[in-house]
């Protein structure tokens, strides 16, 4: 069986992407799933610190440059069933690695003997991040209940949409239409990505059908981290609604994680780390997010009101 790829991103730095990646990974591993975590953060690979590990010697660079098989790069962690691969700056540099090579990487990743592969994308929204996001089976955005975080999320989504539409058009021999239109956006009076997509759709009914089909099977999963009050929790519903109604994407609100005053204690605590002690509310919150992911469900109002 091929492994399922979940990518964790969302734009802004420091929202908790690495923490969420490692926690979801641990939770799945505790349930007996075979999990591989990949740190694809270009600038600040630090996923290993959440796994209480040193940065491994071998990285994806060796896969690209020396054709080292992934199986030699994967490291075991302290948690049974949980393994780890680190990327690094060189290996995932846009100029260094061609799209074809990246596709090859993802083919290999799918064939790792794991049930789940979780990719920590890091902050930002460069090509690699977007591409990794797009090849994943699930795209998870970790956001904070703050304006800058949402601003970053929208930017991220716009780039994802642009890239997705561009790639789709490319597949039908219509490369560069979207890019050219965007370059001439002033003359064409295209003000934003939404209008660009409208423009592209209006080229012909066939293109419209293609674009609509490709955007329809695109779901964005949202996690709101570091929430401190009920209003913060509701940010997730609002974000989901905007993504659905304005960006016309399918969006699901997986859940939230409260701000944990003893965050590092929680991460470093051998107990919560190894057994993912359910006495900790953070662990419970992660648990319900993982459950929603596995059952393809999401948070709803009655759960919030019943104080889940």
């Amino acid at each position: 069986m091929k492994s399922e790829i979940w990518a964790i991103g969302g734009g802004k730095g420091g929202t908790g992407k690495s923490f969420v990646t490692s926690s979801i990974g641990m939770n799945l591993a505790q349930q007996g799933k075979r999990v591989t975590l990949i740190d694809a953060d270009l600038g600040g690979a630090n996923l290993h610190t959440f796994l209480r590990m040193k940065k491994p010697k071998h990285s994806l660079t060796d896969f690209f440059e020396s054709k080292t098989p992934l199986s030699d790069i994967i490291k075991n962690t302290d948690v049974p069933n949980l393994r780890f691969i680190t990327g690094d700056v060189r290996s995932l540099d846009t100029t260094g690695v061609k799209y074809a090579q990246k596709l090859k990487l993802y083919r290999h990743i799918r064939n790792i003997s794991s049930d789940y592969v979780l990719i920590d994308l890091g902050a930002g929204s460069n090509h690699d991040t977007i591409d990794s996001f797009l090849v994943a089976d699930r795209m998870i955005a970790v956001i904070l209940p703050e304006e800058t975080s949402l601003d970053n999320l929208y930017l991220f989504i716009k780039k994802v949409l642009f890239r997705k539409v561009n790639r789709l058009l490319g597949d039908y021999g219509l490369r560069d239409i979207a890019r050219k239109a965007w370059e001439e956006r002033n003359r064409k009076e295209i003000r934003n990505i939404k209008e660009l997509i409208l423009y592209v759709k209006n080229i012909s009914p066939e293109i419209r059908t293609l674009v609509e089909k490709s955007l329809a099977d695109f779901t964005l999963y949202i996690i709101v981290n570091q929430v401190k009050n009920e209003q913060h929790i509701e940010t997730g519903f609002a974000t989901k609604s905007i993504l659905q109604q304005y960006f016309e994407l399918d969006a699901k609100y997986l859940g939230y994680i409260r701000y944990n005053e003893f965050f590092w204690k929680f991460v470093k605590d051998t107990n919560s780390f190894k057994q993912f002690s359910p006495s900790v509310s953070t662990a419970l919150e992660i648990g319900s997010i993982v459950q929603n992911l596995m059952e393809n469900k999401q948070l709803n109002l009655s759960q919030v009101h019943n104080g889940i």
């Binding site: 064409k188 934003n192 509701e234 609002a238 109604q245």
Partner: protein, 268 residues
């Protein structure tokens, strides 16, 4: 009754309701109201989109939310009616279902599940939508002109060699200074938005006009079934429009048109 699980789930999802639940009218209203408030207030989620999410865009979204509200409200009302008749849903027998439907008595179920008993009485709404904003262009998507001339579409080649000429987005009608809201055909949603723009709650309006809060809510939500007498409704609209400093003649004409349309559709 036409039933489509996907549609039902979609609307439940839009309002963040549990897809397997049977929400009460109260829950449906609250869920709707929460999002509706979100789109008409300042919010960290909306602010970053300030320069692209104009009033027209917001109204389109609000209309979609309202559709969801109405669909769910009607659906679960009909469902509880069915339950009332058949005891529990398990008793529904497909063979007899059709005949049973004919015997729907005019019981008090309508009142039992009516929103009136459940809606929180005072709805505080003090947020304003930006009044200064100029009207933004509406992007017209329709290909109608072309499709009238060419009845069939011929599949184009996979590659397009010649540059494609696209009609540019039409200029917005320049309506010097007036806010787009005032120029929209008057319906329940417009009443609601004008009220909110003025920072008035339902409660405020009720004391100002003497119209009961539940009637004001029914008016805004276009729960036409609550208005038996067209004359009463017209009177309400005129009073309401005056209280909101809207053109009351136009309001009455346009709103009543929607009411009559609804009546025609629900006559039989």
């Amino acid at each position: 009754m036409e039933f489509n699980t996907d549609t039902l789930k979609k609307y439940l999802d839009i309002l963040d309701l549990d897809p397997d639940s049977h929400p009460t009218p109260d829950e449906i209203y609250r869920a709707y109201h929460k999002l509706e408030t979100f789109y008409t207030s300042d919010s960290i989620v909306l602010d970053p989109l300030d320069d692209e999410l104009d009033d027209n865009e917001r109204i389109l979204i609000l209309q979609k939310l309202e559709d969801a509200f109405h669909f769910l409200n009607d659906h679960f009302k009909a469902e509880s009616q069915e339950e009332e008749l058949l005891g529990s849903p398990e008793n529904v027998n497909i063979e007899i279902e059709d005949t049973l439907v004919e015997y729907v008595p005019e019981t008090d179920w309508e009142e039992r599940v009516s929103l009136e008993d459940h809606i929180p009485i005072s709805i505080e709404q003090t947020n304003e939508i930006e009044p200064e904003k100029e009207i933004e262009p509406v992007i017209t998507l329709s290909n109608e002109e072309e499709s009238e001339n060419h009845v069939e579409y011929i599949t184009p080649p996979a590659t397009i060699e010649t540059p494609i000429e696209i009609k540019s987005i039409p200029e917005p009608p320049k309506e010097n200074g007036t806010h787009s809201l005032e120029n929209l055909p008057v319906n329940g949603l417009v009443f609601q938005m004008v009220r909110e723009k003025k920072g008035l709650s339902i409660n405020d309006l009720a004391s100002q006009t003497g119209i009961a809060e539940r009637d004001l809510i029914a008016l805004e939500m276009e729960q036409f079934e609550k208005f038996q007498e067209a004359g009463d409704l017209r009177y309400f609209i005129v009073s309401l429009a005056k209280a909101l400093s809207m053109d009351h003649l136009r309001a009455a004409e346009e709103y009543m048109k929607r009411y009559r349309q609804w009546k025609r559709e629900h006559e039989y």
